[in-house]
């Protein structure tokens, strides 16, 4: 392995890590700002200009609060829960292409940590692991509410994973590949997958809300019924880890949606821009576009949270099993018919 390759990958991983942390931290700020704006309020504005230092203040508070481990709790698993949630949430960004190949100091660098052959399945697996943090934490707390939250989290994740997988299958029939890099490259210009898979995108979006446990699907931590759900017994930084994991999950699912359905770093007229700005600055604009899309999705997550009320538990299950899964299967069938139809049409 050459040294440059090692440096390049290490730098990329570090940048991604810091970026993910920063975005997650500022998501907490943005969440409160967006909530305030949607309710005719101002939001945090005391810590620094526009309250921009608020995440630091919150982090400091979390750090210095008292750590409480309930006496009836399983100590190791109690600590393992939030750690696992945070760890797993970080894994997702490894296979995401954040831009086209970029030329730095005469070296062509791909803006992707690793391009594995089964990228989408990898993301899918990592997402499905996310529920362990909730389950282990909820069970180890030795609290009825936590346990209820954990069980809800598990059943919700499993139910919505199926619809999510089925909606991805329809997408794969269009793209013919599982690699994120190729999927992103296929959507050159304005050939975004959302134009070919609108229904699939809708199903994926709804499932993404359920998988990240965001309102209207935040049943695992539903305050009105379960106090705090799986995080009832958590305090200080362990609780912060759960919160952070939620925001990182939101970031990762925004990234995945941006790449899979909204073209990632592609935008109409990108060829002309790339030619005008050269191989360094052109792709950087693409990265900017990508992050614009990601932030738009994060805003959408928050916008929905402060608009739509929470589902009842049976409604959640009904929606998952009786609506989304049949819809996703119908989507697969329709996609298949259209693809075969086009093939026949082209042969004629």
């Amino acid at each position: 392995m050459e040294l440059e390759f090692l440096i390049e990958k290490t730098a990329l991983v570090l940048v991604l890590f810091v970026l993910t942390l920063t975005i997650a931290a500022y998501s907490t700020w943005a969440e409160r700002k967006v909530a305030a704006w949607l309710q005719d309020r101002v939001g945090p504005n005391r810590a620094g200009p526009f309250g921009l230092l608020q995440p630091l203040a919150d982090g400091g508070k979390m750090f210095f609060k008292e750590e409480i481990i309930p006496s009836g709790a399983n100590k190791y698993l109690f600590i393992a829960g939030p750690s696992l949630a945070l760890l797993v949430s970080f894994l997702g960004t490894a296979v995401i292409p954040f831009g086209q190949n970029i030329e730095i100091f005469g070296r062509v660098v791909p803006l992707q940590v690793t391009d594995i052959n089964v990228g989408i399945l990898y993301i899918f697996g990592v997402v499905s692991l996310g529920v362990y943090g909730i389950m282990i934490g909820g069970w180890a707390s030795n609290n009825k509410y936590s346990l209820m939250g954990a069980i809800r989290g598990a059943s919700q994740n499993i139910s919505y994973e199926i619809a999510m997988g089925l909606s991805i299958i329809a997408l794969l029939m269009v793209t013919n590949t599982l690699s994120f890099k190729e999927i992103a490259a296929q959507q050159h210009g304005w050939h975004w997958n959302v134009l070919y898979q609108p229904l699939g995108f809708l199903i994926f979006l709804i499932c993404a809300f359920a998988e990240t446990n965001r309102v209207p699907f935040d049943l695992p931590e539903c305050e009105t019924e379960l106090i705090g759900g799986y995080q009832t017994e958590y305090s200080a930084f362990k609780m912060g880890a759960y919160m952070f994991a939620e925001y990182i999950n939101m970031f990762v699912s925004s990234v995945v949606m941006a790449v899979l359905y909204f073209g990632g770093y592609n935008y109409p007229g990108m060829d002309a821009v790339n030619q005008a700005l050269g191989p360094t600055w052109g792709p950087l604009i693409g990265v900017g576009v990508m992050f614009f899309k990601i932030i738009a999705f994060i805003f959408f997550f928050m916008w929905v949270r402060w608009t739509v009320p929470r589902f009842r538990y049976d409604q959640l299950m009904d929606l998952g099993w009786k609506v989304l899964i049949p819809l996703a299967i119908a989507n697969i069938v329709i996609t298949a018919i259209v693809i075969v139809g086009f093939d026949l049409f082209n042969k004629l």
Partner: protein
């Protein structure tokens, strides 16, 4: 090769822990760790698809359901059912049979010559899909029908309970 030994050692350790821990939830967690080491084995063998599917299906879905059921039943040492000596004897016989079968199959394996893998990409999705839908089409479809039958059975069971209630 050293990576293989480390991972193999870990998977054996975790597998033993699954059996020897008293708490069923811990047992399931160790089983998850065992499956994770299996995933690493698949990756070492360059079977990316198999690795990820093992990851999603076993670690991400089946073990979640295991945990789910265990948490719902809230098993602990007090509620553990009594184990009769008869059960132990039956268990030992069943385990012994499995061991004998395994040894027997291993013996036939060792006689077969090890075929070198010409195609390193055999574990990738495209190749796997082509093989599944050409050479192994019948077993593949049969297993899918089996799954469908199981699904219909599950739905029927659930429905029946609903009517009597």
């Amino acid at each position: 090769m050293s990576l293989f030994y480390v991972v193999a050692f870990l998977s054996i350790i975790f597998a033993l822990l699954v059996i020897f821990t008293k708490n069923p939830v811990h047992s399931v967690l160790y089983l998850i760790a065992t499956f994770f080491t299996f995933t690493i084995h698949y990756i070492i063998l360059n079977a990316q698809f198999l690795a990820v599917v093992n990851f999603i299906v076993y670690m991400g879905a089946i073990m979640v359901l295991f945990l789910f059921v265990l948490m719902l039943m809230n098993l602990n040492t007090d509620t553990e059912p009594m184990k009769s000596t008869l059960l132990k004897v039956v268990g030992a016989i069943a385990g012994g049979c499995l061991l004998v079968t395994l040894i027997g199959s291993m013996k036939t394996l060792s006689t077969a010559s090890t075929t070198a893998m010409d195609n390193t990409g055999i574990g990738l999705v495209e190749n796997l899909g082509k093989v599944l839908f050409s050479d192994f089409l019948l077993p593949f479809e049969l297993s899918s029908i089996l799954l469908l039958a199981a699904m219909v059975g599950a739905v029927l069971l659930a429905k029946k309970e609903n009517k009597t209630a």
